[in-house]
Amino acid sequence: MTVDSTAARKPRSGKRAGAKKPAAGPDKPELVQLLTPEGERVEHPDYAIDVTPEELRGLYRDMVLTRRFDGEATTLQRQGELGLWASLLGQEAAQIGSGRATRDDDYVFPTYREHGVAWCRGVDPTNLLGMFRGVNHGGWDPNENNFHLYTIVIGSQALHATGYAMGVAKDGADSAVIAYFGDGASSQGDVAEAFTFAAVYNAPVVFFCQNNQWAISEPTEKQTRVPLYRRAEGFGFPGVRVDGNDVLACLAVTKAALERARTGQGPMLVEAFTYRMGAHTTSDDPTRYRRDEERELWEAKDPILRLRRHLEREGHAGEEFFAALEAESDALAKRVRDTVRTMPDPADTAIFEHIYADGHALVDEERAQFVAYQAQFADEESN
């Protein structure tokens, strides 16, 4: 195990002041931020970004609609329409910022919480709900939007993204690949192996870690002794920590990382420092392991609120824009609700579909037995 010796010594020496920015050097802040929680634009020496008012309004709209969709899904779970929901509440900036940094020809490998990234890629939100309702395990064509299926086992997709990126490099394409995962998954061997393969083959992949501070009930301290972005250094590629509640910083840093990958400079780790405002999923009860005060602290850094403050401060958006967006949110919520409530169950023979691309004798035999068994009851019902 590698533990940074200076980081381990500092608490004992009592000199903790310097511990906040160990790797970024004396002149640079550890956290890349371009928009303060108060909505003020600030500059960072490495990550300049020029965003038009229209683009700012676009990012705001993305975040608001994503949050509304997410809230509606939580409600639908409470109403029994979904079996489970994994809310992204609080992580909108990390997802919209990074998602909007991708190009159409880039490829995205998400976890199961990347609803905002899915939105940016053009996946219809209602398609995300099938797996949570239990009608499928993934209801979209990954190649339609270059957005892979949600991966539930944490960290596995980091390797798929790396392999895909190795293929991109073999093809001589200038696309990039982005792998999403969380602070919990950072402990998985597959993530470490993905770092190794990506570094060794100089694969055009960006590892985007949303550190939302909690892996169900376990705080980040249970996953790591060093800031997660510094893990990259040991593998031989750069890591950076970005304010995950700052959509502009997430956009700028991810764009830079993807561009780096596209131009043959290899992988990069982006740690988006954010907060899971809700429960891990609708089955979780965060009151058992964390205090309300912590949530309140992060509420003050809300990603949507800070961009709204900025838009208002700069006069980029007025009441009319916000009212229209509210109406659009309502319409989206209604469409999501209506779609889920009328979402049909699959035919029961779907159990046997798509297990193999080229068929399998046992599947054929068992499907025939199943159909024959079911047919007995159909006969009884019709008699």
């Binding site: 499928n136 596995s156 392999g163 293929g167 993905a194 393969f197 080229d358 004798a361």
Partner: protein
Amino acid sequence: MATEKLSIVKAINASLRTALESDPKVLVMGEDVGKLGGVFRVTDGLQKDFGEDRVIDTPLAESGIVGTAIGLALRGYRPVVEIQFDGFVFPAYDQIVTQLAKMHARALGKIKLPVVIRIPYGGAIGAVEHHSESPEALFAHVAGLKIVTPSNASDAYWMLQQAIECDDPVIFFEPKRRYHDRSEVDREAVPGPLHAARTVRAGKDLTLAAYGPMVKTCLEAAAAAAEEGKSLEVLDLRSVSPVDFDAIQASVERTRRLVVVHEAPVFFGSGAEIAARITERCFYHLEAPVLRVGGYHAPYPPSRLEDEYLPGLDRVLDAVDRALAY
């Protein structure tokens, strides 16, 4: 020159070479497969001829090898992955079972995973721990995987061609103790179906069903039994998922007795599944219960004991005698 006598190692090498030549999307990847040509030299010379970009020496991380192979397959490649030894596959077990096997179904058929995982398996080579195991049943239990295992050079060549052409993940178990057994390979033949069993010796008193390294053992057993006037039929199953139950059934309906032989532990092994299904299909034909010969419910033993652990000629014949005594 279409037919030549090759060892299984050379036949697999030739098959990989053919695949690399005929399809630019085929990749070979694994530990030491490049410069060294693999620890068994199965991939000898391939990197030299096809380059480091297509014959890839990977980091020593099995989950990483299979996980990145999945990503490469999603990009349109057809990776042929080597796991160096049977007992080394388990770090990749999660990627194989949780991702590779299920991703096609998860995507409702919209993506395909043409990944071949080659695994040298089985014992009798005097190796240290983890180098002699037969884990095929651990994979056969998983829907979404296909599992095949050749017993001779011709099958090694052709079944690997077919596995690479298959759009599903295929685990290709190679009988490492038979690696250097030589037999004729016709590289212009038209191969039969990948998952069909083959009768390698006809007989009328009892059927021996085996695959991979145990086919040769069963042929030797049948030859020995013939000297005692017993006529044994030997089936080379060739495929563990799916199993060609029709072929076993047809044989057993004639011979009325079945002994299944594999190196893997008998408990919950493929023989158990075959015994159950054949008992159901052939209940009124059977003169004896289906018997199994295989490894014990013990960790694979130190090599000084492996001859006692593995099914050999005598243990197969003992089971034959017991079946014939009913």
